[in-house]
Structures are given as C-alpha cells and as structure tokens.
Amino acid sequence: MSARRVAVIQFPGLNCENESVLALARVGLAGEIFRWTRAADELRDFHAYLIPGGWSYNDRVRGGALAAKDPLLEVLADEAERGKPVLGICNGAQVLIEAGLVPGGSGVELALARNRMTARGGYYTRWTYVRVDASPCVFTRHLPAGTLLPLPIAHGEGRVAAREGETVSALTRAGLTPLRYVGADGRLARRFPDNPNGSLGAVAGLCNARGNVLAMMPHPERAQVLESLARTVSGPWAERRAAAAERGGDLEDQPGPGLAIFEGLRRHLVEAR
C-alpha cells in the first residue's frame, strides 16, 4: 500500500519543513516539501497538507498575513472544503487563521495576536502542557479527552483573540478548540506562564466544524521523539522517558508526545481510503 502524500507547504521564511517531513515519515506518511514557486494546482494531487512554522514573509504586516493571500491558499481552501486534512503549526496556524480556514465560517473570525504576558513582551519560548478536549478534530479525536501532551511553543504572536470575546467561548462550547493550555496537573491554565501568550480560553489549537483543519500554536514536530522532551517536563511522558533511558534504549527512536498529532492524521487517511 503506497504511503499517503502530504504536502508540506513552504512559503519564504518558513523554516520547520524538514522536521515536519521527518515527523510525517515516523508515522508512515510521505511528506514532500511544496515550495511557493510551484503551480498552485499541483497541490490538488496530495492527500493532506501541512503548513509548518517559521516566519513567512518575515512576518511582514502581521504573522501569516501575506501568505494568507497567496493563490496556494485558494487551492488549500478548496481541498479543505472537499474534506482533505490541513494542519497549520505556529506560523502555519497564523496563515490558516488569517486566511479564514479556521474556524472556517464566513471570512476571518479570529486573530493570533501579539503575546500578552506578565512583565514581559515579544517572542517567548517554553515547554507547555496542552490538554486534548473532545472535538471532531481528525488530528486529535483518537486521543481520549483529557490527554496531556507536553509540547513546546515559540512565538511572538500566538494569542487567540476575537473582537467579540464570546466568539472563542462559543467555539469551545462547539468542540472546536481541541487543544488548550493547562498546568502540569491538567487544570486549565488561567495565567502566565502556563497560558504562555494570554490566549482567550487558554486555547492552543482550533479546528473547523468538520474537524479536518487544525491551527495550533505549539510545535508537535519538535516533540516527535522522547529525546527532545525538556528536562522540566513532568508527568507520564517524563516517566516514559526515564523508563526508556533506564532500559538503555535510544531515545531518538522512541515516539514523543507530539507524534500523536501526526498519528491522528495517519489514522484519518487510512480510514478515508
């Protein structure tokens, strides 16, 4: 059975394409870097799409604002409408939000705004705990609600914001916020640094109503093996790493928490065949 093909779309300035392809390969998917110079229609040949992190167009105007106008996004919107999965990570999430693919109603409904933190501003990087909430999201629905995933964030503009604050609560009630920042104890992160950017509702990832498009700020591809887990991380994943180390295994071969997002994609593509 041939591997499902996933286009890893690279705009100028995106720089997480290689590790994204590697994470896809670890779950048996064929990731292929698709650069902005190719004809947009060639995207239609792929089974799924991933826009990785980085700084598309140097974050000019706003993070993701210029890439969101690229004709590639029109094709991506068409294919998403047909049900193909689309994952945006960090800057990729900004592109999807600015292009209105998430939450996918009428036009742009949200912003991933500048971080709002206690006694500091700008770019911030940290390992966070993200909780999986019940959702139709194809990337997370194989995980039991309440699953904790330690994942790193690294951004200056990742705060989920809406003109009407009620928008985000409504999305949460509708199950369209599958990933939310929590403390190590799994309780919703109310303040910095557990909520690392001031996101409304501690939202770390949002999907569309159909569940096939996910925009998430944390980087699952940077947590694809146990070796990459920060020493500050506690809980079951830290125990898993300690146990693997004790057995003398190579931690670079052991799946990390971020791989769960890619595994969700693989399962969905297998079911959709």
């Binding site: 106008k69 029109e74 919107a77 009428s106 709002r116 501003g121």
Partner: protein, 194 residues
C-alpha cells in the same frame, strides 16, 4: 517647558520599507481594492503626551535614543499641531493601525523620565500611506484595503486584535489616544476624513 501637551513623531526608513514593498505587491496582485493602488509607505507613528519641551529640544531628545528612532537608517518629522502637514502626498489616504491594548511604549517612557525628569505617555502605531490612481476614491479603497474580512478583502488591520483609523488631508493630533478611546467604545475602524 511649554504648554504643548501632544506631539507626533513620524518615523520612516531612509530606504524602501520592505514591509510596505511586500504589502504593496500583495495588495496589487491579489486584492481587488488594490488594483488602483500606486504606492504604499509605512511609517512608525510615535505619539507623546505630557509636559513636552519646545520643538528643537523635543527633536533633539527623539534623535538621541533608539527608543524612538535610529537616525542612521530612519528619518523623523515632528508635528506639534493638527494643522501641521504629515509626511504624505496630497490625495493620499493615511491609515493608522494599532495593536488593541498594546499601544503604550513603557521602555520609551522610562527613558524619557530618566533623561528629563518628566513623566509622559508614549504610544506607537503603524501609519500606512496609500496613494491611488487619479480619480480613484481613496478613502473608500483605503478602508477596503485596511479591514481584513477574508482572503480577498482587507490586509492592514485584523480587527480581532487591532484598531484602525483612516484620514485624508488633516490627520488628528492626538490620533492614537483617540483611536484607543474609540475602540474602547466599540468602534474598531474609524474615519477621520479631513
């Protein structure tokens, strides 16, 4: 110290601003309202409110610290009243975009206090200067290009986290402070068409 309460510093790169160059191309190629856009510039608009010195001393203070601008790569023009011209050509629309709730510049305020002993408020936003083909309805097109609605409409301001004001001949002073007040009252885009 004079009785002046507000001043604006309009800061622009001496070279072409890459952000404006990219935005101009995207607007002209991908957005219907951008087809008649002929030029786009981006300036940093810094607004100072408090007990301010006379123009020469004010200019010298701004020149002295990169909290405000870097004279090796940027130029700065100061306005002390709304009657003074802004660095924009006749007929151009000027669009102010601010991050909602993040307009203040505490580091610049601390520097000013340290240097002068005076406490003042410093706010900053982006000022985009849009020029259109003759006969185009500049205010209408500028507003359309400003407010992000979907992939084909709007670019400069995402109203879910930013506020925008659009002006023509006369640009208010203060402007950022007024825009923030309007936003608090629920208006996230405003027209100051002088």
């Amino acid at each position: 110290m004079s009785a002046v309460r507000h001043a604006q510093a309009w800061v622009e790169l001496n070279t072409s601003d890459p952000e404006a160059v990219s935005a101009l191309r995207v607007a002209r190629v991908h957005l219907p309202a951008g087809r008649r856009l002929t030029a786009l510039r981006r300036l940093r608009l810094i607004e100072l409110s408090g007990r301010l010195p006379e123009r020469a001393a004010l200019e010298e203070l701004l020149h002295r610290s990169t909290q405000f601008y870097n004279p090796h790569k940027e130029r700065c023009s100061v306005r002390l009243s709304a009657a003074e011209a802004v660095p924009a050509p006749d007929g151009a629309a000027v669009v102010l975009v601010c991050e909602r709730g993040s307009e203040r510049r505490p580091a610049a305020e601390r520097w000013w206090l340290h240097e002068t002993g005076e406490a003042l408020e410093v706010r900053e936003g982006a000022a985009w200067v849009l020029s259109f083909e003759p006969g185009a309805h500049a205010i209408e097109l500028a507003t359309e290009l400003t407010m992000l609605r979907d992939r084909r409409h709007g670019l400069l301001c995402n109203p879910h986290s930013q506020d925008a004001r659009v002006a023509m001949t006369v640009v208010p002073l203060p402007w950022i402070e007024d825009a923030a007040c309007s936003a608090r009252e629920g208006s996230h885009v405003g027209l100051d068409a002088g």
